[in-house]
């Protein structure tokens, strides 16, 4: 089973995209486009990684660059769904800091021959942090009763579970021997399954129009 997951893990990423394409007419959530774009990039990166692996070539540049692109696109997604000025300023700030830190590590450790596990860990921590901010923002809205019916909820859940599940993997991966790294990396593929399922659920969610604010001209 694990072997099967290890070989065909890249399929999980494309399932939500297929559903998005099928349901694109009824999906009006612009944020989902960011996620779909990210999934397509992820799928391409996975295919390229498999191709490189078959030719026994090092693939760290793709992995590392994907970490950067994934983080920035997810920040972009959170920028769309967290509308307050403070939250958006924080997202821009941490996005800039993350990019600087990423290139710092990339040059210092040489990202072309090493996997930047520290950046992946920072990415996961930041995604968990933004997910918590999102949930607190949602529950603090008094008129937002069924936010589970929004696609945003499922997208954030998927990335929260995926980031929480793979945090310790990226934290320890470089401390393990090479043979164990291969085996333990299956954890990443396993967590792609709930992520893919939750993202697929997100594609089925209809976004409701927000209620008009009372006693304000609209």
């Amino acid at each position: 089973m694990l072997k099967l997951i290890q070989e065909y893990y890249f399929i999980f990423g494309i399932i939500p995209v297929i559903f998005y394409l099928f349901l694109s007419k009824r999906i009006h959530d612009k944020g989902l486009r960011v996620i779909v774009f990210l999934l397509i990039i992820g799928f391409c990166a996975d295919l390229y990684s498999l191709y490189q692996a078959k030719n026994d070539r090092a693939n760290y540049v793709t992995f590392n660059m994907f970490t950067l692109v994934e983080t920035l696109l997810l920040f972009g997604y959170f920028y769309v769904i967290l509308t307050s000025v403070l939250n958006r300023s924080i997202i821009i700030f941490i996005g800039l800091v993350f990019t600087i830190v990423f290139f710092y590590y990339y040059i210092r450790i040489d990202g072309s021959i090493h996997y930047l596990d520290s950046c992946a860990v920072i990415e996961n921590i930041l995604i968990i942090f933004l997910s918590i901010v999102y949930f607190f923002k949602e529950i603090s809205k008094p008129d937002n009763l069924d936010f589970q019916k929004k696609s945003q909820f499922w997208v954030v859940c998927s990335y929260l579970i995926y980031s929480a599940g793979t945090l310790f993997l990226f934290l320890y991966i470089n401390t393990l021997p090479k043979s164990e790294q291969q085996n333990d990396y299956v954890l990443n593929y396993i967590f792609l399954i709930p992520k893919s399922i939750l993202l697929t659920i997100a594609m089925f969610m209809k976004n409701t129009t927000p209620l008009r604010k009372k006693f304000q001209l609209t």
Binding site: I132, E138, I161, F168, K214, T218
Partner: protein, 271 residues
Amino acid sequence: MPLLQLNGISPMFLGTIVMCLLAIAFIILIIFHQRRVIRYQVKMQNMEAEQQKVLLSASIKLQEEERQRIAADLHDDAGPLLATARLYLNENLVNQDKASQLQSIFSAKEIIDETIQLIRNISHSLMPPTLKNFGLESAVNDFFQKINGSGSMNVNCRFHDYKIRLKSEKELLVFRVIQELVNNILKHSNASFIHLTEHNGSENILIRLHHDGRGLTHEDFIKLGKSNVGLGLKNIQSRLKVIKGEILFEQDSSQSFFKVTIDIPKDENER
């Protein structure tokens, strides 16, 4: 496989399980919290339904009072007037001399004119002609001019860009709400001025009344709405309910003015 060797659990595996459980627990917690909020909202809705019953009975009472007033006006004023006119035009009229006949006809004509005026007044109190023909802005202006004319208070109003009229039934309800609010201010607040402003949005209209007298806060309004007194306020609530409007009573930040804001959502054809 090291991943599945549970006898010597690695920190990575343990950390993954803990983090995963924490994330799932967090999401479940959020969902349960939301369920509790929904239950609370349902309770509030039930309370609102109760409140609606009170409003309904208040509006029925108002309707009955209105009918009684019209009946009284017709019975006590129009009835005797027409009876008097009939007396002037009785069968003996033909036996009277020419001058008396003319005098009787003239008197009957005067009484009939008076009755017509009375019926017109009753009809105008039911539906002001200015409102029907020229809209809310003119009707409010007219109403305010009459109050200004009495010299008891300085009232003025300003409408901003009220070009597309609301539906006539809606305008009447809004006008009645404004009338009730102004009457309340005149009766209870001891204010020296009332200032009304109207702002036109694409989705709603805001009408705001300012005055410098004793006013209500929203808490007072809710309390009075639930109590047996304050029929006028209940009527305001029930009228606004019909047009899905909202009302907010507040005191100005300077504590020297009270303001009432009415938020009226527009229908598609009113935008």
